[in-house]
Structure formats: structure tokens, C-alpha cells
């Protein structure tokens, strides 16, 4: 084969078996991981936003414990919720713009599974760091120690639901250019229960009650989102694609 000129010669046909859905899912995870790590800026943005809101809040109100401690759950949760929402806006748009999305639809493998691979990587690289950062920011807001565990757990369960539901909004609005506002309007009503149960769990823990019922409800929301969102996301992506 000529090394310099393009020959476009077909490679020798090797009969390869069609890969299973599982191995394609793993390949998609690897590709998404590599892709999202290359876009470091996009990963850092929500994290910086989350930290900044929580750091600036005491400066704007008052850095005293009597004022900060009661609002700490709300501030942490609202900031985390908005950071997750913000990070999801551009989830599928680049894929739509460069044609990767239509190739996924045409791959012959479940679009829902491929979208979930993307969302899983995204959660791992944006939501998880944010959750791990939250206890430190909690300390800055005089969050009592006994509420730290509940903060982690509620954000862990809550962010799953937020990511999955936000993914539906991102899928539906990917084709609409800069669609931040529409996506927010679509998704926010579904975020409110998550916010209520999340802050509820923390407030109960702070006042010495049992946070388990709230956490169980959050878990139920996450489980519901996990079962329904993949199909909704795939349907949303198909609608977006047929409009191109």
C-alpha cells in the first residue's frame, strides 16, 4: 500500500461478529469519558458556579452563624440544583451539530442506552465532584455536623433525579440553538419536588428528626427517573433529529 497517497483501498474483509448491546455501551462510556475530559472547561464551570454562589452568599447577607445556619440547606441545594441544570443545557447540542447524534440513532443500537452512557459519564464528572465539594461548603455555612451525612446522601440521590430529568429537557431543546431559558422552564417544575425533599431531609436532620422518609422519597424519585427518563430522552432526541 502506498504510504503517502490516499488509496481508499478496502481492508481485507474479516468476518466480525456484531457486538452485543453491552459491549457497545462500554465503548460508548469510554468514548464519552474521553470526550468530556477533553472539554475540561465545561466540567469546571458548574463546579465553580456552585462554589461561588455558596462563598458569596455569606458576604452578601452576613457571615454570622445565627443567620447562615438556618438557610444553609436551602442555599446549598438551590446552588447545586442550578449548577446541575446549567451543566445539562449543552449535553446533546454538540452531538447534534457535528452529526454524532444521527450516527448514534443509525447505529442499530439502543439510542436510550447510548444517551444513558453519556448521561452517566456526565453525572460522574460534574455532579459527583459537586457532591464531594458540598461538605466543605457546608462547613462555611455553619451546617451542623449531624446534617453533613444527610447533605451528601440527599445530593447523591437528588442529583441523579436532576440529571435524568434535565436530560429529557436537554434532548428536547438540543435543536433550538441557545435554548437555556426554554430548557429551564421545561424542567424546573420537575425539579421542585426534588428540592423540597432534599432540603426537607436536611432540615429534619438538623432539628434532630429522622431524615429517612425524605431520603426514601428522594430515592423513589431517582428510581422513577431512572426507569422512565431513558425512553423519554431517546424519544426527545428522535424528535430533535427529525426536525433537522
Amino acid at each position: 500500500m502506498n504510504k503517502t497517497a490516499a488509496t481508499f483501498c478496502r481492508l481485507k474483509a474479516k468476518k466480525s461478529n456484531l457486538p452485543s448491546q453491552g459491549s457497545v455501551f462500554l465503548a460508548a462510556l469510554a468514548r464519552e469519558g474521553r470526550l468530556q475530559v477533553r472539554r475540561r472547561g465545561d466540567l469546571l464551570n458548574p463546579l465553580v458556579f456552585f462554589a461561588l454562589v455558596v462563598v458569596l452568599f455569606p458576604l452578601g447577607i452576613s457571615p454570622t452563624e445565627e443567620i447562615l445556619a438556618p438557610v444553609a440547606p436551602g442555599v446549598l441545594w438551590v446552588a447545586a440544583l442550578l449548577a446541575v441544570l446549567m451543566s445539562l443545557d449543552a449535553l446533546f447540542r454538540p452531538d447534534l451539530m457535528d452529526g454524532s447524534l444521527e450516527q448514534q440513532q443509525l447505529s442499530g443500537y439502543s439510542l436510550a442506552a447510548l444517551a444513558m452512557a453519556k448521561l452517566a459519564v456526565h453525572w460522574l464528572l460534574t455532579s459527583l465532584p459537586l457532591i464531594l465539594l458540598s461538605p466543605f461548603l457546608g462547613i462555611m455555612l455553619y451546617l451542623p455536623w449531624e446534617a453533613q451525612g444527610v447533605l451528601l446522601l440527599s445530593l447523591l440521590l437528588g442529583s441523579l433525579a436532576l440529571s435524568l430529568v434535565g436530560g429529557i429537557g436537554a434532548a428536547l431543546t438540543a435543536g433550538l440553538g441557545k435554548s437555556g431559558v426554554l430548557m429551564t422552564l421545561l424542567v424546573l417544575p420537575f425539579y421542585i419536588p426534588v428540592l423540597i425533599f432534599g432540603t426537607g431531609a436536611m432540615q429534619t436532620a438538623i432539628s434532630g428528626g429522622n431524615a429517612l422518609p425524605h431520603l426514601a422519597l428522594l430515592g423513589a424519585l431517582a428510581a422513577l427517573a431512572l426507569t422512565l427518563a431513558p425512553w423519554a430522552i431517546a424519544a426527545g432526541l428522535r424528535i430533535t433529529l427529525s426536525g433537522e
Binding site: 497517497a5 457486538p19 465503548a27 470526550l35 440513532q105 443500537y109
Partner: protein, 219 residues
């Protein structure tokens, strides 16, 4: 493949209508694509060439009519159909952040084709040796197109739907690409493509002119 005389068609199109924004692009389109067919869609800009390819690929819903894959409605055998199909559209499906090799690895994984040295060979084959490890956003338009086309060197899928595959390719690339098309149909594959290049010298080329039926709607 069965004996050449009685091959069943790979792709059958019956009474296909397509409307976009209340404009009739084509109507009552019948089409049979057999193994070994090389079909070029022709027509002025806006005649519906790309739309037809997207309808065939199932990316765009047809207003009416049906597409059959090996005799079965595509909707019922969509996984089979998609696993037999390569579609390369205006958008190349190439990730600018990834290197050509990483881009190709994904498309290879979709076909269970994982030999790393073969992927490198494919990149050499499209004239990208030395660019394997550069992110694609540093490549020229023609080089990106070559990354997308490199898939065609190893794919086992019989049906190729190519939308302007020669865009941004240089002369030498166009000639090499034409040879690849001929080789694929000689292997029993089938190709439907749109192109403004004159492909007259390709053996067995068939043409379908769009935009005649609805000619009044066009300027």
C-alpha cells in the same frame, strides 16, 4: 450472495411522498435497490436529494409510503436495517475533540471490529498517516471528511447512503473514493449517493433525477 439473476432487492421503496414545510419534494417514488447497484440522486438544489436520503435512513419521517429492507418494512426490522447501513451526511459525525483514531475506534466498535492496527491502516488508506493523534479540530475540512470516509474502508455493512461524499476532497481523493465505490458495488454492496460531481465513467451507474415531478415549484 445468491446467484446474480434472481437476487432479491436489498431496499425497496413504494409510493414514497415527502413534504417539507408544505412543499412537495417528491411523490409516489418507487425504487428498487439490488446488490451491486450504484445510484446517483440528481437534481437542482432543494430538489429533495438530501431529504430522500434522510427519509431512507429513517431520520426524517415520510408523509406517506413505505421503505422495505429485504422485503420487510423498515420499521419492523429497524435494528437489522441500521446494522446494515452506513449513512454519511453533510455532518460528518466526527468529534472535533477526539483524534481521528479515537473517532474511528467508536465506529469500529459499533461493528465489532476492534483491531487497532487495522484502524491505523484505514487512516493511512485515506491519506491521514501522521495525523492519527491530532485532535480533529486541527484538521482541514477535507481531512475531516477523510476521517469520516475511513469508516467505509472496514465496514461490513452492505448499504451505503452517502450525501455529497466528495465534498472538500481533492482531485486525487475523489478518484480514490470513486474506486472505493466501484469496489463496494462489485462486492455485492449497494450505494445511493448525492453528488454534483459527474460520475459518468463509473461502471453500472444509475441516475435518479429528482425535482422533475414537482418542477413547477422550483425556480
Amino acid at each position: 450472495m445468491s446467484e446474480s439473476a434472481s437476487k432479491p432487492p436489498l431496499l425497496t421503496v413504494r409510493q414514497l411522498d415527502c413534504e417539507r414545510d408544505e412543499r412537495q419534494l417528491f411523490s409516489s417514488l418507487d425504487l428498487d435497490i439490488y446488490p451491486g447497484d450504484l445510484l446517483q440522486l440528481e437534481g437542482p438544489n432543494g430538489a429533495g436529494k438530501t431529504s430522500l436520503l434522510r427519509v431512507l435512513a429513517g431520520l426524517l419521517p415520510a408523509s406517506s409510503g413505505e421503505v422495505f429492507w429485504q422485503g420487510e418494512p423498515v420499521k419492523q426490522v429497524s435494528d437489522d436495517y441500521y446494522r446494515s447501513l452506513v449513512f454519511i451526511g453533510h455532518l460528518a459525525g466526527i468529534k472535533p475533540e477526539l483524534t481521528p483514531l479515537e473517532n474511528l475506534r467508536w465506529y469500529a466498535a459499533l461493528e465489532g471490529f476492534t483491531q487497532e492496527e487495522d484502524l491505523e491502516k484505514a487512516l493511512v488508506g485515506v491519506g491521514l498517516s501522521g495525523f492519527e493523534d491530532q485532535p480533529c479540530h486541527q484538521l482541514s475540512a477535507g481531512q475531516k471528511r477523510r476521517v469520516a470516509l475511513a469508516r467505509l474502508l472496514f465496514t461490513q455493512r452492505p448499504l451505503w447512503l452517502l450525501d455529497e461524499p466528495f465534498t472538500a476532497l481533492d482531485k486525487e481523493g475523489v478518484a480514490a473514493m470513486e474506486a472505493l465505490l466501484v469496489a463496494h458495488v462489485a462486492d455485492g454492496g449497494a450505494i445511493i449517493l448525492t453528488s454534483h460531481h459527474a460520475l459518468e465513467n463509473l461502471p453500472g451507474l444509475k441516475k435518479l433525477r429528482l425535482g422533475k415531478l414537482a418542477g413547477d415549484n422550483h425556480e
